[in-house]
């Protein structure tokens, strides 16, 4: 272990990660602001009108990146949960805890923008098809995770119980992703495919990817700010936190 070039376990200590998190937060905030500004400009003014849906399709530039992030953040949280259970590191659970509100926000944003898109195009705000229902279950998983965590007073027991919930819920992610292939749904199939050409104009695709990376940077930025607060709260009795707070006030 000691012979490695970079000792990753060094950063699994909240005390060493705390200052690093600040640097990551600053850099990713700048990236997020720049990318989302460019992405929104392109969404409204550069991307062409769609041949069938006219201007209304432009909500895709928020809807699809938000949906992707809601699924991706859940997978990352489940990864942290697994690491926390296996290596017994405190920071892993803190990372999962810090990502949860952002993931829930994106899941809600995905359902909300989807509803606003569905009314003019499909003719309905909501249907119980497989894609939409499984995304709603994802939102409930986020809310359930946060509720379970805060319901258990001992933080370490709360970490373990909520980590198991996160790992169990991960089966929902492939169900959301493949729902449009496995079953007949009102929701259309995937535009971006792994194994063949995407069925989207190039400018539209680039705009969507810029928005996705912008949301990605945003998620990193807010979760780093949040994890610093979580570290301070949960390590408040340790000497380094006292020194830190003493030095700042």
């Amino acid at each position: 272990m000691a012979s490695r070039l970079v000792n990753w376990f060094k950063f699994s200590s909240p005390a060493t990660f705390y200052p690093l998190a600040r640097k990551i937060a600053v850099v990713s905030t700048i990236i997020a602001v720049v990318l989302i500004a460019i992405g929104l400009y392109m969404s409204f003014f550069v991307a062409p009108t769609d041949y069938k849906q006219g201007e209304g399709y432009r909500i895709i530039f928020v809807h699809v990146p938000a949906s992707w992030m809601s699924m991706f953040i859940y997978v990352v949280m489940a990864g942290w949960a697994a690491l926390g259970l296996i290596f017994n590191t405190r920071l892993s659970a803190m990372m999962a805890q810090s990502l949860a509100p952002t993931g829930a926000m994106f899941a809600f944003l995905s359902l909300w923008t989807g509803s606003f898109w569905g009314k003019p195009m499909w003719g309905t705000w909501w249907v119980w098809d497989a894609r939409i229902t499984s995304e709603l279950i994802l939102l409930f998983l986020y809310l359930g995770y946060m509720a379970l965590r805060s319901a258990i007073d001992d933080p370490r027991r709360g970490d373990r119980a909520s980590a198991i919930l996160l790992l169990v819920g991960v089966v929902n992610i492939p169900i959301i992703y493949y729902s449009v292939q496995w079953w007949n749904t009102l929701h259309q199939g995937s535009t971006i495919k792994f194994n063949e050409e995407s069925s989207m104009d190039d400018t539209m695709l680039i705009t969507m990817l810029i928005m996705t990376f912008g949301f990605w940077a945003y998620s990193i930025a807010v979760s780093m700010v949040r994890v610093r607060a979580v570290i301070l709260e949960r390590e408040r009795s340790s000497s380094w936190v006292r020194e830190q707070l003493g030095a700042e006030t």
Binding site: Y51, K52, W122, T124, V127, I175
Partner: protein, 152 residues
Amino acid sequence: MKARHKRFGIVAVGLAALGLATFLVLNALEGNLSYFFSPTEVAAGKAPADHIFRLGGLVEEGSVTRKEGELTVNFVVTDLAQRVTVAYSGILPDLFAEGQGVIAQGKLGPDNVFVADEVLAKHDETYMPPEVADALEKSGRMGDRHPGSKPL
């Protein structure tokens, strides 16, 4: 064996068991999770008789007819293999057009006409500017842009 190897084993086995259980459940549910029946499934008698169900397919070209002085619209829903005639009185979504995908909810009458009380439009996953769509239409390549995708 270190304690963390054991914990890794428990997590890995737990996830595998959960995955298998989910697979079996979804496999057993299969058709029940589908949002609609295709005209072929209706023709094969898979759709429930005397019960509300959803019918999905493409609106056949040239099949939309309106009766004079009435709100009722008649059209044919097809999956290019079988056809079902639909009657609907109400407001149609903006995307409703001949050749467009729709999902209608209602009952199959004794005369084999599907009486719908709701019609939703279903669009595909293709997005492009109108000029590109025109060019593809002219060259007759609109259909083979993505060979893998289903017509609906």
